[in-house]
């Protein structure tokens, strides 16, 4: 009589099961990417939005803020900041521009990044585009 709980069967299940579920994950991912254009409104990704994403990245904004809930939890959520600031690009640009170089005594403060007007416009356009992604109604309210 052979052993009733064998290493080789456990191994087969590991390899077979993992491959099975990975293939399944790929199938779901394919479906997701096919459905995505309806939700991310990629037709609105202009040159400014692309520049804005780059500005977002090279200044490591994610190191303090969250964007659609991902990032650091040190500073406010920015996925809906365009709406929170009254659908105003100017308000976003004005806020970024007005950060004091030496911070605010005793309090958290965003650094002064000395962005050009073009970069400021880009980041605002990027945040506007982000606020229009269909995120299944997240965040729960305007405060993010």
């Amino acid at each position: 009589m052979s052993e009733k709980f064998t290493k080789s069967m456990a191994r087969n299940i590991f390899y077979g099961g993992s491959a099975f579920f990975f293939l399944f994950f790929i199938a779901l991912t394919v479906d997701t990417t096919a459905k995505l254009p309806e939700r991310d409104h990629r037709e609105n990704i202009t040159e400014q939005v692309v520049l804005g994403k780059k500005v977002w990245e090279v200044n490591n904004c994610i190191g303090c803020h969250t964007l659609l809930g991902e990032g650091a939890y040190f500073a406010p959520e920015l996925g809906n900041v365009y709406k929170r600031f009254g659908n105003s690009k100017e308000a976003i640009i004005g806020f970024i521009k007005s950060r004091p170089v030496d911070g605010i005594p005793g309090r958290r403060s965003m650094p002064q990044f000395n962005l050009s007007d073009e970069e400021l416009d880009g980041i605002a356009e990027f945040l506007k585009w982000t606020s229009e992604i269909n995120t299944a109604n997240w965040p729960p309210n305007i405060e993010g």
């Binding site: 590991f14 190191g63 958290r108």
Partner: protein, 460 residues
Amino acid sequence: MQYQSQAVAKPYFIAAIGLFVGQIVFGAILGLQYVMGDFLFPEIPFNVARMVHTNLLIVWLLFGFMGAAYYMVPEETETELYSPKLALILFWVFLAAGVLTIIGYLAVPYATLAQITGNDLLPTMGREFLEQPTITKIGIVIVALGMLFNISMTVLKGRKTAIIMVLLLGLWGLAIFFLFSFYNPENLVLDKIFWWWVVHLWVEGVWELILGSILAFVLIKMTGVDREIIEKWLYVIIAMALISGIIGTGHHYFWIGTPEYWQWWGSIFSAIEPIPFFMMVIFAFNMVNKRKRDHPNKAAMLWAMGTPVMAFLGAGVWGFMHTLAPVNYYTHGTQITAAHGHMAFYGAYVMIVLAIISYAMPLLRGRAAGNSKKAQIVEMWSFWLMTVSMVFITLFLTGAGILQVWLQRINENPMGFMEVQDKIAIFYWMREVAGVIFLIGLIVYVTSFFIGGDEEEASS
């Protein structure tokens, strides 16, 4: 130490511990910045300190994994390493790349770093945990491929045990999924989807294979239980981990613009993610009960037993707490996530690396089986200091998170983010105190390496 070439693991372990200290120092700085917003501003703004904190964590864990691989592979395959020299060269390359990157973070503004490292040619920077300059990323790939070549060649010429095959698969997966960090589309939603292919499929996928194989190795060595039994359960546990964990990626696809069916797929599969961790706890304690010898290295045993318990609490329980979509709707991107992240990383990955270091280091230093009683007692003190303070860090962050969710998201008159941060400052203060105790625990840990005394004899 049975094989000469295992010695290359030693510098890897030492570097890991050194970078670990750096990580915790920056953790303490971050904790203070949470309550004293202008601390070190503008010299080291929060985003820079955080980047250093998280990147050091990843890099030192990778050092730990590599050291573990170089230590385990010769012993398991019963043959010397294919090229110890290559392992040492790669060590210095990786260390130099890591240190230079950290210096780069601290010395110049991030935008300048992006510019001088040519981020424009292949933009990959500025995404959470993947902040490294593109050239550093390329360096990581080269080091990983070099190591994989080295140990794969060793495995090919030696005995192929289940433990080593699982470890190899985990390391290959680590390298392959890292390649997604080079994919940075202009579309943020696509960017986020495949960013998780690195982050999630690492920590809730292939890293668990590495974790499982190291734990199995240490358990075989320390308990003397039959290899067949341990390897059998290793397969069962990692099978469960991947079955639940791969589609469990869906719990990150709830609110980033992905279709809404992920709320079901993600919830259902991540609901079973605690099971493999629970099985790991049962498994580890069962093996210890069945032990055929009492290994003199009690400290290593403590780390090895602590790993599944803390991993189950941090990854399993704290993960499950906010993984279901209706709950996550309110907790997503709050301090709850931070709480879970801290305990899960500590429990699963920090502790397993410390376990293998604790087991292997005395042998690498030419001791018979374990450090002296005195040194072990100090090390066990550090275990309890770090573990208990991590539990408190997690509890305080959870308290902060619950209050944050309530004030900012559920309340009828929701408060703004910064206002809420002021309200929950007390939790951040307590977290900082716990963090300092963690740092003290780490200092005690480092001290334990410098305590001499009569070493323990190998058991019969």
